[in-house]
């Protein structure tokens, strides 16, 4: 991804910004890399672990690489994990006011097409509001909905539908 190059100096700042909350994050989130599990174990014994911070930054970098946010059925709410991802992108945009993103909202095929177009729009708007709170400016953000018209997975069934209920964060340069 092209954006990765832009991220390298920024990641260092994320590390600083996240260090204060790193203890709680690693414990509540089971999706971390194998290395970070080790870090959280040792972190439980000692209050300040420099190595734990370094591993966290690794995980944040992977998260930042993810640009798709998924949603529950008929919902535009971000769960904790999605919120964290959106916040990272928001913070990045705040630091890089020249960068723009388009937030593309999508829905699964169930129910009516027009309502799903609305659902995609609301999902995109809901990601936008997280980005704005993190300091991104409105001029950096545009939203669009494709409803159920552009599925990521054209199959039918719960796993395909889960892939299709999404907002794609599309960086424009």
């Amino acid at each position: 991804m092209k954006i990765w190059k832009l991220l390298i100096p920024f990641c260092a700042m994320i590390v600083v910004g996240c260090a204060s909350q790193s203890g709680t994050e690693t414990e509540t989130d089971g999706t971390g890399a194998a290395g970070s599990e080790g870090a959280s174990t040792s972190g439980a014994d000692s209050e300040s672990g420099g190595s734990a911070t370094a591993l966290d930054s690794d995980r944040e970098a992977n998260l930042m690489d993810a640009t798709i946010i998924y949603f529950d059925f008929d919902s535009s709410d971000l769960d904790n994990q999605s919120s964290e991802l959106a916040k990272l992108h928001g913070a990045y945009l705040a630091e890089n006011p020249g960068v723009k993103v388009r937030l593309e909202g999508h829905a699964d095929e169930r129910g009516s097409r027009e309502y799903n177009l609305g659902l995609g729009e609301r999902r995109a708007a809901s990601v936008r509001s997280v980005l704005l709170v993190q300091g991104a400016s409105a001029s950096q953000l545009s939203i669009i909905s494709f409803g159920e018209e552009r599925p990521a997975n054209t199959g039918t069934g719960e796993s395909a539908w889960a892939e299709n209920r999404r907002v794609e964060i599309a960086y424009s340069n």
Binding site: D74, E109, R110, G111, S112, R113, E114, Y115, L117, G118, L119, E121, R122, A124, A125, S126, R128, S142, I143, I144, S145, F146, E149, R150, G155, T156
Partner: protein, 449 residues
């Protein structure tokens, strides 16, 4: 299974004439629409058993050479498609009369036929055709209806539909829909890429004309009340925009391309306004009305939830719409001039995309029935919901203008198909595309003379 394939072969010559003349007309105009042959196959899937046995005897030909057109088979196909009649096969007929005087009612009683239709066709000096037909009640041995109609050679198929509608109305008391049309979207995979076509065809799937071809999605076609224009949503510029297109000429213009969503167009019954959904780029969908002649835009709803899918009441005074302000989509109605919306549906966790029945007392909706999306009819006053279909992903219901039948989109083995269901739920047909998937059906209004 009953296909239209045989008809296509028999009428090949006629269709060529019509094709050629249409091409001539179209070449002189915008040139977007194109004619292709029947692209739909219709199959009865439920409820043929309750239909009335009827005989449409092949019409006599009083001219020279081969009969130019098989009116009787088009009429039989039309009446069968209504679900109310079961035409008997030609080889089951004990006699083939072409006038009332030739009918032996005993021969028809033996095979339990209740209605017999006979007719003849002749060529008039000047080239037009004269078609006469008579409808008889077998048990009373009485004529119920008789007409002589003059038809241009290029209009014979339309004349056959007109005859079907006269018979249908006489026998049921309800105006027939054989002369109406349907609009739908055909999605074809072409070398891995999707091609979307907006198509207008006769109600029997014949005379399909492509109004628009696009690499991006097309949805929500809506007929103007005079049947001359379609409003629809096209993503051809990579976002939702509303277009209005004249069916005959193919000429079109962009009706709304504001920031954000432009979608769900619905014509007011007087044809002067379009109700539509706009988000104005702020993520919040609201219903607006757009005056087609002076472009004045008026906002009708104002709520943080999704408001979309407007549908006018038949008197034009109310607009039904979908809103999830209660936490899930339900149908509401609002005065078309604005005001406070009232909730209409209460049964079930999902009711969306209302279409008002011609009787004004019912609306068709997409309804979540135990996890399946199905077409239901809601009695608006009594708030009573009746599920009509049995699919898992049924959507986009549209009433035939006589209210007897609905057409909707469904899935069959993962493929998008169209289907019809009678308003009482007893009779169902599946309409599959010969090529690709079909979706987003909209039934036209009655033709205006």
């Amino acid at each position: 299974m009953r296909k239209q394939g045989g008809l296509r072969v028999i009428f090949a010559r006629f269709n060529f004439i019509k094709f050629a003349s249409l091409c001539l007309i179209l070449c002189m105009t915008a040139g977007i629409p194109r004619v292709s042959q029947a692209e739909l196959q219709i199959q009865i899937t439920k409820g043929q058993g309750e239909a009335i046995p009827i005989a449409i005897v092949p019409f006599g030909w009083l001219g020279e050479g081969e009969q130019p057109y098989d009116i009787a088979s088009v009429v039989a196909s039309d009446l069968s498609r209504s679900g109310r009649f079961a035409p008997i096969a030609e080889d089951g007929m004990l006699q083939k009369p072409t006038t009332g005087a030739e009918i032996d009612f005993g021969d028809w009683r033996i095979i339990n036929t209740e209605v017999v239709i006979v007719g003849r066709m002749s060529k008039l000096p000047g080239g037009d055709y004269s078609i006469e037909f008579r409808v008889f009640d077998v048990f009373r041995g009485e004529q119920l209806l008789g007409y002589r109609i003059t038809s241009k050679p290029s209009a014979l198929r339309g004349t056959a539909h007109q005859i079907s509608d006269l018979i249908y109305e006489k026998l049921t008391g309800v105006r027939g829909v054989a002369s109406t049309r349907i609009a739908y979207v055909n999605v074809i995979k072409d070398q891995g890429k999707q091609v979307y076509k907006l198509i207008v065809a006769d109600a029997d799937g014949e005379n399909a004309r492509t109004m628009l071809e696009s690499k991006q999605s097309i949805m929500s076609p809506s007929w103007s009340p005079d049947g001359r224009k379609l409003a629809y949503v096209s993503f051809e510029n990579n976002k939702s925009e509303v277009y209005v297109q004249e069916i005959k000429s193919g000429a079109r213009r962009r009706a709304s391309a504001r920031k954000g969503i432009n979608s769900a167009p619905a014509w007011s019954p007087d044809g002067k306004q379009l109700a539509l959904t706009l988000s104005k780029g702020d993520g919040n969908l609201e219903i607006y009305t757009l005056n087609v002649s002076n472009q004045v835009l008026k906002r009708l709803t104002n709520w943080p939830s999704i408001e979309t899918e407007p549908s006018w009441s038949n008197d034009g005074k109310q607009i039904y719409f979908t809103s999830d302000r209660s936490g899930a989509p339900q149908i509401y109605q609002i005065d078309a001039q604005g005001g406070r919306p009232e909730r209409v549906t209460f049964e079930g966790s999902y009711n969306a995309r209302a279409r008002v029945a011609p009787d004004s007392k019912h609306i068709a909706v997409v309804h979540n029935d135990r996890g399946n999306y199905r077409i239901a009819i809601v009695d608006v006053e009594r708030a009573y919901t009746r599920v009509l279909t049995d699919g898992i992903l049924d959507e986009s219901p549209s009433f035939a203008p006589n209210g007897e039948t609905l057409i909707y989109a469904s899935k069959n083995s993962g493929q998008g198909v169209l289907a019809t269901v009678s308003a009482d739920g007893r009779f169902q047909q599946r309409i599959a595309a010969v090529n690709g998937e079909v979706r987003e059906p909209a039934w036209s209004p009655f033709p205006r003379n």
